[in-house]
Symmetry: C2
Subunit: 583 residues, 2 copies
């Protein structure tokens, strides 16, 4: 049996099983060593191959697909630094719990650490940042090794998907010649033709005895709040809003909780807390004594501080993936239970509560704050706060909104108000990097249209290369580029008080004409003149094809002032309101 | 003593020692957690800070500076995926033996793996790919901890520089508040003000007894060759050419050996072997029985095969860094000895040999091959082979030539002829990636002008972001962009025989108008019309400021044909010549 036959059968078995596990998308970066895997994958009718020359962008593109589809996506690259370029997206996937199957080609053992070209040590290349690493055996065609290839594949996909979802890494040593026999490629396996092994991933649940105990401690408590961060489960919105209604607890809903938009009940959803929890009187007025937390840590720093100040409260953290998302060490109970299951069970145990003064307080302060959002909408010049306070109105029903890190996600958190549209909001909040944003959004855009991406100029610059995917694969994307020529977030941090090297180290203006970049990728570039122009542009954008970039030029200093002025004014009004309530 | 004082003194001690070790350049990527280190570094008059928003490019930029200066360069970034973006350059630095000191800021212990924002596991983040990792202690101002900060710094710089040079990683946990007291920054240390500890790095040498033994085996052997790959030692050229003359051994000089250009003796330097070692008769005619190898593995595949076919020959590999650069397992002796020291000692032991028939054979075949290079220069259309065969003439004396991977380095190897100009040739040949090329070249350009970068379109695209450094810091660079709209190297590989998915998986045309990209960075773009135009452009380029990109558009298919036709014709002539010699 020759090597080519072994190579072909072994890879075909692997790829065949990959499709059986439910993988549909592979992001391939061109290279020599990965040739046999790439050529065999291209033969399988069940796989969509996306080719991406820049491996950093490629990995984020795969992350975007996996994020929106909740299916593991495979990445394939050649040996060497190509694989190292995957690292940022792998780290993000780990912390944002997104399933990725990373396939790297490698030199065989005899060519490792001996000065062979493009050979680097790929064993455990990503260290702790993948859930599983396996060094694959050299291709062989024996029944045993075909079984091996298929089970490793099924297992890799299962580990990637199992909560907490995340990346896995398989390293494939391939010898030359690297060309498979494409006449021989048989995806139809003789043994178990419909998939070798199906992994039924279980879910964490706590039993009824424990649930009863938890319920007895929570229900009937008057001053309870629910805090929801980023969560992927689509059933969660309906479940948690019902729980809130039953318990009479307000839900502080991070934009990534998917609770601010949707057909579910919004009455108990509180979304302007990032503004009003900056106010001392409000915080005293709303002091909780029990807190239920779901999902990732919320974006809002004001909320984080509020939670920290309320360390006296019992805090229950429900995490279906058995993590430890508690940076301030506040939890009294860490409950490892699927979030929707927990909600459903809770509802069977809790009697409907009577109306609560406490939830009304939250609703009133929230409404008062929103009333003042009118101030933001009155700003006539182009401003970041007005932009985000208008997105609710401007985005079409059914849109997906991808938000860049640093300021955009914070402004969205502060100013994006709840609504009954169906708007899905996503962001890279595993490690909160500004890298790979364009690519992640484009990956998501493949499966979710219309997609809007809002991001700052440094974030756009960091992953300009990512736009190539939109050009090559005709992916439609509307990009709202908030261009404040540098790192706007630093103007909010203490270093802004030290002007000496501030612009050098933190402001970092790039002075780039992004129009040229957009043109390079055959995109359309619109420089927004004023708010009317922006409204028109957004209305026009709905059915547009290709890349459309709408640049909103703002000023970092003015932006800081605008935010601070707004918070000062609202804070004053909130103080007055709270004092009135006490009288 | 408050935390700010501790933070300031501890970092100032570290930075002060960094300068004493000889570090002059730091590449800083903006971020919040790294604020104290960045602000203190900016105060030190002995450090040049280069700010780079994209950490991947930043790390390659630092690599370029370290490559050209042979001094360790420090990198500084914030926590999270920022640090993961350094990975490709770190891997390249490891395998190309370039010293880097990687400084990453991190959250303190209590904020790790608990869902805190922008916190990832940074302990041993780069795994085996750094020579040393240390998790730093939290900042303290005690005498002991100041000593600790200074010694760790001195040690890190020493390990990075010690052969084999490479990257080291120090991870700094910082607590908030992150602002140092800049009134307090005192780089002048009370204890040992001129540097805490100087590390005198030793060098590997073999003793005289061993040398005598080696010499007795080598000298007097008639059929000996010397093979030189990439080597950083500047004294090496003079030393090895003297050795060659004494032993009457030809030197097969890889372009990165720095032996093809310079004031040293060129008579024994053979540079067209990549062409003539494709010919069977030539290989039989030139069969060696002893081989001395210095530096990294050479680029040429024809040479690699020739070495492999001559496994009967004694092969001595001299490596001053104690590596194992021997992918075909051919070495009879692995000699861990500084290369220049080895040459100098050898010269004291070896008597001048008489003239040798064997070296003359090499010289004749080499000259014959070069005579046919005229064929390349007769090509009237824009062609890759003509470009590289003309670079010797076109580049000004004193130029640094940075060559991209994939085809350019191979074409340079094939067609760049020896000369007495002073031309330094560099490339990223540790892991041979196409990533980070623009940035590495720009880092080198900071310290070596005029600098010319020759690279392909995919390589240019992969690191377009790198051009921002040229824009922000007015670095002069002349870029010769060989645009064959895709991955030209794959047309030389067996997959090109399988047209079905070839363009999709390997050809990967991007169809990009690079003019827009260049304009974005305020560069000048020239589309080369013909060879006269190119000659003029090169002549004009010498004193130019800023970014200048000269695009040479070629055709992948035609290029393969041109190369193959040329090799076929020359091969025929070489066969004829060899047959003539045997008669």
């Amino acid at each position: 049996m020759n090597y080519q036959e072994s190579l072909t059968s072994y890879i075909a078995a692997f790829v065949s099983e990959l499709v059986h596990t439910g993988v549909t998308d592979v992001v391939v970066s061109p290279g020599s060593r990965s040739t046999p895997m790439a050529m065999v994958m291209a033969e399988h009718p069940g796989l969509k191959l996306h080719i991406h020359v820049d491996e950093r962008s490629a990995a984020f593109f795969g992350l975007g697909i996996a994020k929106i589809t909740n299916r593991p996506v495979a990445l394939l690259c050649t040996s060497g630094t190509a694989a190292a370029n995957y690292f940022p997206a792998i780290v993000e996937a780990r912390y944002s719990r997104v399933p990725l199957i990373v396939l790297t080609a490698d030199r065989p053992h005899e060519l490792r650490e001996v000065g062979a070209p493009q050979a680097i040590d790929q064993i455990h290349l990503y260290g702790q940042h993948v859930k599983w690493f396996a060094e694959m055996a050299l291709p062989e065609k024996s029944t045993e090794m075909i079984r091996y290839a298929r089970t490793v594949c099924a297992r890799a996909a299962a580990i990637a998907s199992q909560a907490p979802a995340g990346p896995v890494h398989l390293n494939f040593p391939f010898r030359e010649p690297l060309i498979p026999n494409l006449d021989d490629v048989l995806f139809q396996q003789e043994e178990r033709p419909n998939g070798y092994v199906k992994v039924r991933g279980g879910e964490l649940t706590v039993d009824d005895t424990q649930l009863t105990e938890i319920v007895s401690r929570i229900s009937g408590r008057e001053k309870g709040i629910i805090v929801c961060g980023n969560i992927a489960d689509e059933k969660f919105a309906a479940n948690i809003t019902e729980v809130a209604e039953r318990l009479k607890f307000p839900i502080l809903a991070d934009p990534l909780s998917q609770l601010r938009s949707g057909k579910h009940r919004l009455d108990d959803v509180i979304e302007t807390y990032d503004t009003f929890l900056r106010n001392k009187e409000a915080k005293a007025f709303l002091k909780p004594d029990v807190i239920l937390r779901f999902g990732a840590m919320p974006v809002s720093k004001a909320l984080t501080i509020f939670l920290k100040e309320n360390h006296q409260a019992d805090q229950y953290i429900i995490d279906g993936a058995g993590g430890w998302r508690d940076p301030a060490a506040l939890s009294t109970e860490m409950i490892y239970c699927n979030e929707s299951y927990f909600c459903e069970k809770l509802l069977t145990h809790v009697q409907p509560g009577k109306s609560s003064n406490y939830i009304e307080k939250w609703q009133k302060v929230n409404q008062l704050t929103k009333d003042y959002f009118g101030l933001l909408k009155d700003v006539t010049r182009l401003s970041e706060s007005r932009l985000f306070s208008q997105l609710t109105d401007l985005l079409p029903d059914g849109a997906t909104l991808f938000v860049g890190n640093s300021m955009p996600i914070r402004d969205l958190d502060s100013f994006f108000t709840k609504n009954h549209k169906s708007i899905k909001i996503i962001a890279n909040r595993g490690a909160n990097g500004i890298d790979g944003t364009v690519s992640t959004a484009l990956g998501a855009a493949l499966y979710s249209q219309p997609l809007y991406l809002v991001l700052g100029d440094l974030t756009f610059f960091h992953d300009l290369n990512g736009l190539i995917a939109a050009k090559l694969y005709d992916i439609d994307i509307r990009i709202i580029l908030v261009n404040n020529n540098g790192g706007g977030i630093f103007s909010f941090l203490p270093q802004s008080q030290h002007p000496k090297n501030f612009e050098l180290l933190f402001g970092t203006p790039l002075n780039i004409q992004f129009e040229n970049a957009v043109r390079m990728f055959n995109g359309e570039f619109t420089k927004i003149k004023d708010w009317d122009h922006f409204s028109e542009a957004m209305t026009d954008s709905v059915g547009k094809k290709g890349i459309h970039v709408y640049e909103i030029e703002t000023n970092r200093e003015q932006n800081t002032t605008e935010h601070r002025d707004f918070w000062r004014i609202v804070s004053q009004e909130i103080s007055n309101f709270v004092k009135g309530e006490h009288e």
